[in-house]
Amino acid sequence: MINRLTRNVLMTPFLIWAGLFIFIPLVYIIWFGVTDKAGNFSLDNMAMIFEKGFWNALTLSVWLAFVSTVVCLILAYPLCLILTERQRDNTTIISLLFILPLWMNSLLSTMAWQTILEGNGIINQFMRLFDLPALQMINTEGAIVVGMVYNYLPYMVLPLFITLSKIDRSILEAAHDLGANSWQTFYRVILPLSLPGAVSGITMVFIPALTTFVISAMLGGGKLLLIGNIIEQEFTFQYDWHLGCALSVILMIFIILNMLLTAAFDPIKEEEKD
């Protein structure tokens, strides 16, 4: 469409941009992570992850992110199946209503969950109305999972919904004509075709859930610390940037592992054509 020179000239701004704002910042964070305050090379800060408090925060983060991702997948899959079925009957508005909460400020809606779950909150006021014992819900791991699922469910719904609605209806009809019952159609046709959407949904939920510090601060009551909380504190309270950066580098290793894992499960390698 355009000649080589124009192409290269048009590509240059982005390459400069990416070098300055994507590559160099990563060099900075890794550099801070592997040096001490005097500026000498040292892996002491990286080794701090094996200290009890940090290690517990890391394992708790991985566990809660895993649980939230699984819950999101279990909730989103039937939802998207039902929505795509309905979408064919021309009811876009219902699908839109399920994406709408995305525009609500996530800090405020997480705080609303605080109001719902806390000791004197809405659920417990209902329980008292019926003379039932109050439930301890706020400041538990469960509360953090509720907050994560609420905040990140749309990230699972969107890619799943897009891949599911792209499946050609005639393929499903063909499966039926060839004698498959609805379970077989689902298991043999819909599920494999929707796998790419599920894979990208898993990445998009797992990484923010692993690294959040806001949800755990608000629904965990400051007692349940995730690795994100510890990193944030190193920058805003402790002012130990080298330790904060070292922990961030460890977080990046987890992100890369997660990406490699999901890439290995992605059945479609390259679908674009020239």
């Binding site: 400020n105 609303a112 992100i255």
Partner: protein, 260 residues
Amino acid sequence: MKYLKKIYLAIIFLFLYAPIAVLIAQSFNASRYRGHWTGVTLDWYVKLFNDERIADAIANTLSIGLISASIATILGLITCVAMKEFSRKWRATFMSITNVPILNADIVTGISLMLLFMGLGLRLGYVSILLAHIVFNVPYVILCIMPQLMSLDKSFYEAALDLGASPLKAFTSVVLPELRPSIFAGFLLAFTMSADDFIITHFTKGAGVDTLTTEIYAELKIGIHPEMYALSTLVFLFVLVFVILFAINRRKLKKAEDVF
């Protein structure tokens, strides 16, 4: 089975809208404390329009959102046009570079940009937030534009050239109109991401400059001003109306298509 599906939709719907209902209820609550219902009032809506801190935060959020989305859209569009011309291998490499800010954790992006700005001697404030927002907005724009650009039919553009249009003229009058939906989608997505971002803004902002999200975070510790509930109710209603109008419009378009 049909009832089962309806019940399932209703449960998810309840889960998604319960906190929103709580926020809307609180915007009318006379008490300023959460969970204490002392009567209905419209005071918070009146006070919202007299609150300077919130007005500043709104102005910052809107201007940073609009400017960062605009710059990101322009940079993203230019990059997409260039990327289309590279071989598949190069394109895949560039695409994985563009995806880094999306795939990376917000906290890592925020901290690394803060280190860069301090290393460059840039004072943390409005400009640093703006730059950071452009950084994470560009990939969303590219993700929106690239698929449509790739599936574009080259022959119209070539026909325009054959008919004597300059490459720039052919691009602006043939390619650009075709790309309009995805450019618009990219801009909208970028604006939304910018307005909703907290973590990256938290690390790249300096004292004295606040967007809505950082203002809310600061208030969390001392108790949220109920004006915020009023504001979020208004935003919610605005988006709801927008979505309904969009859906009605689409249905009309579809009906019109069915007729022809």
